[in-house]
Symmetry: C2
Subunit: 446 residues, 2 copies
């Protein structure tokens, strides 16, 4: 497909490569050498050798074929270099450099478009971080890895108009131990835009959910058709939702924010999930990694009564329903759990609940009731739960088609446990409300 | 005051103390010995010595005065033990044990009330975790410290009807490096209730903000008057906001949820902040650690354009206003910051912003503009910010009366930096929206 050269090139030229520390081109070149198994060529007219690799003064001097160029040089000289890329028939060019329409230089940005017009060269950017592909290991995201984490392989793909928002999404995904397939920071969207990316990412075989942070929608019709053609969940956050904020967008990625009403209306028609909060992007995306619930009937299991009630409030306020377990389930469980356990919904297995008690409750309900989703509130501060409980939850989650969602509020120890669950594809939420909101959003986009 | 014996006793008897592992009474006794400097007496009719301390078979056998008793024994024998506490004239009794009205044993719970009625003994609980006082070190919260963190000394006091919700609030406060003054888990509220606690905690000299998780309000008038008399911010989360969930409350702490409309109405009259989400409790509480903004005029400084726009959306949607900086500020800054910095509001200091650039922007705006609050978006993933930036922010925050709020999304590295800021009293939010919501809530309760 048209954008493959961005994600699975064989040969990449880094234009602006050097050995200096703290230079963007240098960092990108080093990252490619370190993690990407393909052929990376440094391009720098002032060097003969960069980090022991033969350097070329221009892509035109390199004798072989080049699939991708990453450009990290000052904006005014980008057009000349882009011309060379076109001449060399490089299909995929990532322009990291900023200094184009986001600072009012529409002329310079138009030049880029004119240069590639009618050619086989496509541009990602300018003013972007480019690509991270967890499978192919292509990586032009140049943030320091001692402050920022990169996720491993997974089933979520991310597009972000803002490099900062996008890269911090990666940081947080990695922190939660959730993998990604492909990440694209696309900046000013001069050539390749949000619609191209939604369509392309939705076709990726490793992608189950597409997540996007968008500032401007360039072409409403194209956008709607991209969302409609995506046969996978698409979860989008649109910035510049208010009149006051659309001006700020112009000075960020040079985009026109467009009317939020029109955008929302379009999304409703195509059933892509629209979230209003950056935190909800991931909350909803990871809920999509489970099967979509058939309906609104949720069973809440808890080992802490207060959190059960907060979850029930969250369920009620998000249109989910909490039918009580059947008499059969209650009778079966009554014989096997302590008398103080509350066999309603929320089902309070109480503060000494063990893995076995959770398992018993889940299996009994799965057999005798008709719930569409199971919400497990697990307070890992309580000594009766442990790492084995994680295995049990993962095993049961695989056994049943009914989706599971876990609520686990807490600090370091809880984060460790949550990371294990997330690594096995079970979404974990730090608060009851965020979990219930995510389930409701998933149901909305059904 | 009446409840001092719960927080600053001189002698504490732990009834149910033993040397066994995994027993609640044993854990509480060990915690007292380890951290509390006062005199702790084990009470256990079956032991002569517990952990090298002389044990007594009843409080009546101990020759000296006892200020506080902590009871962790099976519910049916609690009344008899409580009678002994009354006879011994112990003023403060914490009943940890559950098995009272929350499981339908209203009779047993009524007995407790009858026993203390007309005496000088007050009961906290039953069915609670009791007290943690960060200053006096009284601590009956018995969760294992390898899974759960206890905060140090600070300016927030917490009351929670649910032990789980309360203790996990502590866990998260500690994780964020925010200290507390006093923590009370009060369970079934047989004697001491939410109103007593709000009133008492608001008078504590180490407390600047009172935070509460409440299931049932026992006495509406008393509650309103307690909130009104509190001359400090009170931030409350009420569970059981929906008809469907009030039933669950009865089987948790035996409380009647009461109508949420009446509760909300009452809170509006007394200007206590009502939040709908457990996460917002701390978000709003820590915002109160700064001066209350005089008005709604916020300046947003950012080193990432996308987050600036998200923050601006959040501000607009929460009724905050973002006036542009004055021409004077713009002219002054224009000479000293790079041409690509955007001197509007949000003010985008861009991805290479340094501590100095933030400082310059803050000081210039403080001198020439009339902002009521400063929101600093700081992406610590970017190498130009470092630990010194924390010192700079803290210093400037102390210099000006205008409150500061920081937005810092990210993973481990960011959490470390955020903890430093929180430790110095500067609230940090993981998302723009949560920050703006918290500021709006603080303004609401003005």
């Amino acid at each position: 497909m048209g954008l493959d050269g961005f994600f699975t090139p064989k040969t990449v030229a880094v234009i602006g490569a050097s050995a200096e520390l703290n230079k963007i081109g240098a960092t990108i070149f080093r990252n490619f050498l370190k993690s990407w198994p393909g052929k990376t060529i440094p391009i720098n007219p002032n060097k003969k050798v960069v980090l022991k690799r033969k350097s070329y003064s221009s892509v035109l001097d390199y004798p072989g074929k080049i699939d991708q160029a990453v450009i990290a040089i000052p904006a005014p000289i980008v057009p000349k270099i882009l011309e060379q890329c076109v001449q060399k028939e490089i299909g995929s060019v990532i322009i990291i450099s900023s200094g184009f329409k986001e600072i009012g230089r529409h002329d310079l940005e138009q030049q880029l478009l004119d240069i590639v017009s009618g050619t086989k060269t496509r541009i990602l950017g300018p003013n972007c971080l480019g690509i991270y592909d967890a499978y192919s290991k292509v990586n032009s995201v140049f943030l320091p890895l001692d402050r920022f984490k990169l996720p491993g392989k997974g089933r979520i793909s991310v597009l972000s108009q803002s490099g900062a928002v996008g890269s911090i999404l990666l940081d947080i995904l990695a922190d939660q131990n959730i993998g990604v397939s492909r990440f694209v920071s696309y900046g000013n969207a001069t050539d390749i835009d949000e619609s191209d990316l939604i369509e392309y990412l939705a076709k990726d075989k490793n992608t189950d959910v597409v997540v996007g942070y968008i500032e401007g929608v360039k072409d409403g019709k194209k956008f709607m058709s991209a969302c409609r053609n995506a046969k996978k969940p698409v979860v989008l956050l649109k910035a510049g939702r208010n009149e006051e904020t659309s001006e700020a967008i112009q000075s960020h990625t040079g985009s026109l924010a467009g009317s939020y009403e029109i955008y929302s209306g379009a999304l409703r028609q195509v059933k892509a999930a629209r979230v209003e909060d950056w935190e909800s992007l991931l909350d909803v995306a990871k809920a999509h990694l489970q099967e979509t619930p058939k309906g609104k009937k949720i069973l809440i299991l808890t080992d802490g009564g207060g959190f059960g009630i907060l979850a029930a409030d969250g369920a009620a306020e998000n249109g989910l329903s909490l039918p009580h377990p059947s008499q059969k389930t209650v009778d079966k469980l009554r014989k096997k759990v302590p008398g103080y356990a509350i066999l309603k919904n929320p089902m309070d297995l109480t503060g000494d609940a063990t893995s076995e008690r959770y398992k018993l409750a889940i299996e009994t309900a799965m057999k005798n009731d008709d719930y569409d989703a199971i919400v497990l509130i697990t307070l890992w501060q309580i000594p009766t739960l442990d790492v084995k409980t994680v295995d049990e939850i993962v095993k049961l989650n695989k056994k049943y088609k009914t989706p599971f969602y876990v609520i686990a509020p807490g600090s370091e120890y809880t984060r460790k446990i949550a990371a294990k669950l997330e690594g096995a594809g079970v979404p974990v939420y730090p608060t009851p409300l965020r979990c219930m909101r995510a389930i409701a959003k998933v149901l909305e986009s059904k």
